[in-house]
Amino acid sequence: MELYDLSALALAAAIRDRQVGVAEAAGAFLDRIEKTDPAISAFITVDRADAMARAAAAQAAIDAGEATSPLAGVPVGVKDNISVRGLPTSCASKILEGYVPVFDATVTDRLTQAGLVVVGKLNMDEFAMGGSTETGVHGPTRNPWDTARVPGGSSGGSAAAVAAREIPLALGSDTGGSIRQPCAFCGATGLKPTYGAVSRYGLVAYASSLDQIGPIARSVDDCAALLAAISGPDARDSTCVVDAPFAFDQTPDEGLDGMTVGLPRNYFEGGIDGDVKKAVLAAAKQLEALGARVEEFVMPMMEYTVPAYYIIACAEASSNLSRFDGVKYGYRSPKAATLSELYLDTRSEGFGLEVKRRMMLGNFVLSSGYYDAYYKKALQARALIKDAYNALFKKYDLILSPVAPTTAYHLGENLDDPLKMYMGDIYTVPVNLAGLPAVAMPCGFDGQGLPVGFQLVGDTFAEPLLIRAGRAYQRVTAHHLKQPGREAE
């Protein structure tokens, strides 16, 4: 067995017991990245010297008894929209070319304090706007199960790297499904925390009322441990919730007895792929066999969530992305002669087409004459979606659903049809609009051997319930243990 086959928690235990050194672990994964990443392109930046210096510091902290986290010493990859001091942060965009943050994001700080070792930055859709990790300036990431296919997105680099065992843990961000959907496409496990559970300080903003950073790993156990390390109040993010149960890794192993799980019947009609439907319904049966009561219901508001999400997300993005002006950092157009040309030329040359599309859309829905019909209407729809979830969580502890209507599609297949791409977010975006936590994990494979994922959605700060249920599921199933290229179903 290779080091990269160990779970993150098992690797940390081996490091604690002095069977493995932190530098040895970091070196093993750096070698693995060197070998397998050329075919996948999950990483944008890998700096071996920087990673080995971080490993030495982590080993010293462990030896001194300062880093006592259950994950101390484990290598981790970070999505390229999260600041790591000294490593380029590009958001996969030309407009951030050459930018090296002078500060750590709060989550990066917490990784370091917990003794984890950042080994590199992971590819994504430009500014996290997309579901396929194809739109970035560094080129696409490929799905490790079939390199002709996309890994999903926007945290496609994070999910692909974890699935390919290039890294045991990664951070992603989820604005409308960007952790969960790539996990489903790559056969990884990922958790989108409750809005406000994890600080957004140092996360380059896409849509501030929806963005959350969360863990990606090969199991719920590893995700829970990473979430425990990064979550909690932060004075630098005023939207961080202060009074929540953050000891997610302490969740008791109580199984599913007495749990009621809602199954939205209308999520399984219409455009969903037959193999996806079959695998997700089998997961529901499995939860039932584990003691949960599964009840079907009709999810209200289903057809309104994607329009509401894109109006709100694009509106917030059009405001957030106005900070990129070619003055303070990143790319500046060489041909601009005046200040207004500097803004125009820098932004026009620096942003890719999908980012431009969303900024134009955001400015449209916010502009005079259209604001009431689109933006205001979307905020009201958001209120109705939140109310609908509030009513559902009076009846159900968790809601089980698909993550995406299909498995991973071919590179380039949906790039020319943005609307089709947006429709693929139907199962994930309502969760962000309501600020809820959700965990996605593999539940089988389709006829072509591609992973299928399902998600469990909980009420605000129900992460312990998600972890309890996900852990119980993974104890009796093996889908999350499968590895691309090594074994078939």
Binding site: Y99, V102, F103, Y195, G196, S209, R236, S238, T239, V241, Y304, V306, P307, A308, Y310, I311, S322, D325, G326, V327, K328, Y329, G330, Y331, A336, A337, T338, L339, E341, L342, Y343, L344, D345, S348, F351, L353, K356, R357, M359, M360, L361, N363, F364, S367, A373, Y374, K376, A378, L379, Q380, A381, R382, A383, K386, P418, L419, L433, A434, G435, L436
Partner: protein, 95 residues
């Protein structure tokens, strides 16, 4: 609704973008399709429904007003495309 050339020009201005002709044609088509789909929300009866701009009803949280370290100016300026005299340098803005 149809997103026409005049509206595209207005949105370019609001977005501080200058699109190529190919991008203009492409985005006019894309935005017309996307906005048409968004009009689905018209069906929804939202009379009396409050606007929710945030997942929770939090009021703003303020941190303690304590003096802390600032970032090092030289370090920050190292990221600037052009800098000089301890400042960001941009083309002349006033005659």
């Amino acid at each position: 609704m149809q997103i026409d050339g005049a509206l595209i020009a207005y949105l370019e201005d609001l977005s501080r973008l200058s699109l190529s002709d190919a991008e203009k044609t492409r985005l006019a088509g894309d935005l017309t399709a996307i906005v048409g789909y968004m009009a689905k929300l018209d069906e929804l009866d939202t009379a009396g429904v409050p606007e929710r701009s945030h997942p929770f009803d939090h009021t703003n949280a303020f941190r303690a007003d304590v003096v802390g370290d600032s970032f090092d100016r030289a370090l920050i300026l190292r990221n600037a495309p052009d800098a000089g005299d301890e400042a960001f340098r941009v083309p002349k803005t006033v005659e």
